[in-house]
């Protein structure tokens, strides 16, 4: 059990997907202008991550021993079809949620955080439950980073910023300071062990 907690905390804080590994940057800069949309996007990504992690642990057990060279292709096909299925189910069962998520769902297919999760799970040899903890942690970390970013950007709306830094420049500097802040988590787990 301690192992699962360790995986969760490490994925959420110490090895934050966005701020330490640089994956999932497109939504991080693209949908971080308002806190509510950032929260929704984070939720959608976490959900797809959990589904992907469970699907990938089955792929790893049954398909890949037979055809290892199909790893990348089978992952991307599974992710794309999962996103498609989630989209159809949500549309049918909860039109309100579907409208709220809007264009974010299809975009998740090309979100590198999901594919990275699958590849990482393979590289670390995580099983089903470890994969789930890892996915939950990574999703929580992604949501946390996105919401922090969105709240800072909302505040900075009213600040008077030099013209050259108005769009992406400022966002990059904010991301750099967030990333520096997250480096402070580096000793969190080894200190406890």
């Amino acid at each position: 059990m301690g192992d699962l907690t360790r995986i969760f905390v490490s994925a959420a804080l110490i090895n934050n997907f966005v701020l330490a590994y640089f994956v999932g940057l497109c939504p991080f800069f693209g949908v971080s202008k308002k806190v509510p949309t950032a929260l929704r996007m984070g939720g959608a990504v976490t959900f797809v991550m959990v589904l992907t992690a469970s699907a990938v642990s089955f792929l790893n057990a049954w398909v890949l021993p037979v055809a290892p060279y199909l790893r990348l292709i089978s992952y991307i096909v599974v992710i794309a079809s999962l996103v498609q299925i989630v989209e159809m189910v949500v549309k049918k069962t909860s039109p309100a949620l579907f409208r709220a998520l809007g264009i974010y769902l299809p975009l998740i297919t090309t979100n590198c955080a999901i594919l990275y999760l699958a590849l990482f799970q393979y590289a670390r040899g995580y099983g089903f439950f470890e994969g789930l903890a890892f996915a939950l942690g990574a999703g929580a970390g992604f949501t946390l980073a996105l919401v922090l970013m969105a709240s800072i950007r909302q505040r900075s709306e009213t600040a008077s910023v030099p013209a050259i830094a108005r769009e992406m420049g400022l966002a990059m500097i904010i991301a750099a300071s967030l990333s520096m802040a997250f480096m402070g988590f580096a000793g969190l787990l080894s200190a406890g062990a």
């Binding site: 701020l19 330490a20 590994y21 640089f22 994956v23 999932g24 940057l25 497109c26 800069f29 060279y69 790893r71 990348l72 292709i73 991307i76 096909v77 794309a80 297919t109 090309t110 979100n111 590198c112 594919l115 990275y116 590849l119 990482f120 590289a123 709306e157 009213t158 008077s160 013209a163 050259i164 830094a165 108005r166 769009e167 992406m168 420049g169 400022l170 966002a171 990059m172 500097i173 991301a175 750099a176 300071s177 990333s179 520096m180 480096m183």
Partner: protein, 227 residues
């Protein structure tokens, strides 16, 4: 369908619509693998192979793919080329393959490649598509080298592993750590917008900034403060 010359198609990818610096696409590899020039070059070569190969293949088979499934077909084509690069790199340069880690397989989800396949290769003949892909790859490589050069120079005091800075140079370790990537790209992007905005003031008045409801722009406030 192109009425542009080959030169224009090529240059558009390099500068005018540079994938990283203007379109802000493909940020993940740009930030993640540019802590040294060597990694940046390897990543640029791998991506160039994938984008040229997949653009060429997409433009060859574009008439046979039904438009409903074209995205999935493009992703599969890209994934195939990425698998090739991944396996070759693992066999020829295992150390480099290890250094780049998961970022070689992650070329699949680089939106820049899918973007070129959808926006250009699926509507054009083979040669223009290859030219467009080479231009985009060149633009991507320039951005990567710029990032890698700045970060390695400041972060380790070297360039391609050769000592450049004087020996008493204290390396800015932060530059090769994650925050340094964001900082460097931020500085480069600010330089780019300075370059684009430099002529604007002569042509037309600077666009007034949109202020949130109830907040007055500094220009409006100033007279009161003087008075």
């Amino acid at each position: 369908m192109t009425d542009r010359t080959g030169r224009e198609v090529f240059l558009r990818g390099v500068w005018e619509e540079n994938p990283v610096l203007v379109q802000i696409l493909g940020l993940c590899p740009t930030l993640a693998v540019t802590n040294s020039v060597e990694n940046a070059i390897a990543m640029a070569l791998a991506t160039a192979f994938v984008i040229v190969g997949s653009s060429a293949l997409v433009s060859l088979v574009k008439d046979y793919i039904p438009s409903q499934v074209r995205m999935s077909a493009y992703i599969l084509i890209i994934a195939t080329f990425v698998t090739v690069v991944d396996l070759i790199m693992g066999a020829v340069a295992p150390a480099m393959s290890k250094a780049l880690g998961a970022f070689v397989p992650l070329i699949v989800v680089n939106c820049m490649i899918l973007g070129r396949a959808e926006a250009f290769a699926s509507k054009n003949r083979l040669l223009p598509s290859i030219l467009d892909a080479v231009g985009t790859a060149a633009g991507f490589s320039i951005a990567l080298l710029l990032m890698g050069g700045v970060r390695e120079l400041l972060g380790s005091g070297t360039f391609l592993g050769l000592q450049v800075m004087p020996h008493n140079w204290e390396p800015w370790v932060i530059m090769i750590l994650p925050p340094g990537g964001f900082l460097t790209l931020g500085a480069i992007l600010m330089g780019m917008s300075w370059w684009w905005q430099r002529g604007e003031k002569k042509d037309e008045a600077v666009k007034p900034r949109r202020w949130p409801h109830g907040v007055r722009a500094p220009e409006e406030r100033r007279p009161e403060m003087v008075a």
